[in-house]
Symmetry: C2
Subunit: 413 residues, 2 copies
């Protein structure tokens, strides 16, 4: 919280509606931070199905291991999230801590440990003392509420400078069902499966395998298409919980991905994930510019994605944007280093609508003044056309500034 709020923070936040079947409470457990909430308990009614996607890191946190193991059961009754300590690379102590936390939560909620999901975010390598949760979770279970969702969003923040929430409603069987989500993330953002932490809740009735399939599909254009600093976390966790309470209002459960209602729900879920992912980029550590990188004309969508990621991850591109410098030569460099098919002499590059380079050289119509004026805007687009095929991809990122260095030069201490 020591750092100023991102200039890219939204001016207003939506008020998230209650999600029938999901209640929560937050507390100050003093895990690392002082004078702010750092523990979140979400209680889910019986019948809640669950899905999740996690970091592809080879060194995942103890909580990620735990969630992966429990996901097979397909049912959730509780979610415990703490900030300030990632419980990652904490060895057998980490596994014991996770087990004990789940036991405390299961007792508090009256369910089995196999229905408890956990996430931790903060410093890596510091043992997390589960006894800190001992009195706290019982207390939280005694004061569960259905709103406001801003409270859970705040409790899971680390270097975030603003809370991240998004919501959508979707009509199924003529009944409105709710999808609401929260997220945290600011640095160590190059999700290879999900982002730091994000949790989405719905009262729709959806079988766990269907929910899993929809989540895996929608994570690609949202959380898997953002990067702040190319660093992938040990703790990336995105989970969706469907309480099924809408069934009481006449919505039949969605039991198959072939059910046409699955696609309708999936699209709304995608909208929520996309909004949350964009908020993570807008809170990228030190960010002053939001950048959309659009690549088209690649030999495949995968190739386009790797080229877009190469541009979005390039320190030289990101520092040029921070400096308001229309340095499209660095975009050429980043296309070239991606290792994907590219033909220098067919390549064209634009900033917004301004074509700066085409057919392998500076555009004849290049206008330095107009381009510089464009670069002073807060939301920028870099467009690259390769002229080779139909592959396209979009990646979202932010600039690289002194703020990033200041935040990360002394985060742990």
């Amino acid at each position: 919280m020591a750092h100023p709020v991102s200039p890219l923070a939204p001016k207003t936040y939506p008020e998230l509606p209650e999600v029938p079947g999901a209640r929560f409470a937050t507390a100050e457990a003093g895990i690392k931070y002082k004078n702010r909430t750092d523990v979140l308990l979400v209680a889910l009614d019986p019948g809640t199905s669950v899905a999740g996607v996690f970091t592809r890191s080879k060194c995942p946190s103890a909580a990620v291991d735990w969630c992966r193991q429990n996901l097979g059961g397909g049912a959730a009754r509780g979610l415990v999230v703490n900030s300030g300590n990632a419980n990652a690379f904490t060895g057998s102590k980490g596994r014991e801590s996770v087990q004990k936390t789940a036991e405390i939560a299961a007792r508090a909620l009256g369910c089995g440990t196999g229905e408890i999901f956990l996430a931790s975010t903060g410093v890596i390598g510091e043992p997390l003392d589960a006894s800190k949760f001992e009195g706290v979770l019982d207390n939280l279970a005694g004061r569960l509420v259905s709103s406001p969702w801003m409270d859970p969003a705040k409790a899971i923040m680390t270097t975030d400078t603003f809370p991240k929430v998004a919501t959508a409603t979707v009509e199924i069987d003529g009944v409105e069902v709710v999808i609401s989500g929260i997220a945290k993330g600011s640095g160590m953002i190059a999700p290879d499966m999900a982002t730091m932490l994000s949790f989405v809740f719905t009262d729709a009735a959806i079988a766990a395998p269907v929910l899993q399939s929809l989540l895996a599909e929608q994570v690609r254009p949202s959380f898997n298409s953002i990067t702040v600093d190319s660093d992938t976390s040990t703790s990336d966790t995105l989970m969706a919980f469907a309480t099924g309470k809408a069934a009481e209002r006449g919505v039949a459960p969605i039991e198959s991905v072939e059910d046409p209602r699955a696609a309708v729900f999936g699209e709304a879920l995608g909208d929520v994930l996309y909004e949350l992912a964009m908020l993570v980029v807008r809170d990228g550590e030190g960010a002053t510019k939001f950048v959309t990188v659009n690549v088209e004309g690649a030999t495949s969508d995968e190739s386009a994605f790797r080229i877009a990621k190469s541009i979005a991850d390039s320190p030289l591109v990101k520092t040029a944007i921070a400096g308001g410098d229309a340095n499209w030569g660095r975009v050429v460099m980043a296309v070239g280093k991606a290792g994907e098919p590219a033909d220098r002499d067919r390549l064209s590059i634009r900033f917004g609508d301004l074509v700066v380079a085409e057919q392998g050289e500076r555009s004849p119509g290049y206008d330095e003044a107009a381009t510089s004026a464009y670069m002073r805007q807060e939301d920028l687009e870099i467009g690259v056309a390769l002229g080779l095929g139909e592959g396209r991809a979009t990646v979202y990122t932010c600039d690289l500034t002194h703020g990033y260095i200041a935040i990360n030069g002394d985060y742990r201490s």
Copy 2:
């Protein structure tokens, strides 16, 4: 030159001996910089063999294309290098500029254009007007000298804060032959074949194919094992020129890689390349720390290299080092994101001789004070042992500081 000299700059420079058969001159052509030399002409005696390795960028500069094409001839008579303009992504204008520059140089030196090699470094995308070389190269050809080598090293600098030279002598057939090299490079350094620009000269008599083989072998542990910012240039060029003049002193030409003298020469060549590569890291944009990343116990050398590169390229690892923060959790993160085989619970990490983590958690003997004291040093080592196999690799890098942002936020303008 506006930026202060790197604190990692060497305190003294070796005086490079003359290389019989190689003479040079430099000039101020005013390509971009004012009041400094920016053009180098090296004249090589008839009989000089040549070898080169270049960027793997898919968008190489016009000069790189030119050198690749001429390399087949195996013979060199002239090298022209300019700083201030990379002549990259300049389309047909770039090709014409290269052709014209070669013609001017060939005329000045009395040789064919196929024996002229070219390199350009500086801004990408700006057309390079070859007519600037018109009078200049003739003038340079008229005042060629054999020393001091510091002059060519200075003429090829861009954002470098100090010139880079290295030398070695090696005894072949009882006669001392000389190997001397120069390099430039500071940012956009993640060579995937060579570094920005480096040229090595020797009076040894070595057939071009042998020289090429030795150069390709020695580039891996030197220029291909360094990274400043993970950005690979369009213009990376490393060339070696062997004038063969040592034959006049009784050294028989090396015609085959099986010749035992090839290995002796190769080792000395490797020493020069290694020294030059380390100087590039020490002049990394904004660098205040020199970092050696040693990875061992990987499933293969290639796997170890990719993990070491992942650590050395991580913005979060590099900012922690800048802040003197022994944040080994970020090293875990970087190992995990590399996508290579790793077992969290066998992993151990050390800073210098201080073991900070072992068997998947913080070391029982971890000493925060001692580790923090170590992190204040200028030359640091990060050691990672994976405990899986015999694969090992070393990558050299520097920290990521406010200086990098300051240098790159407005380089072009």
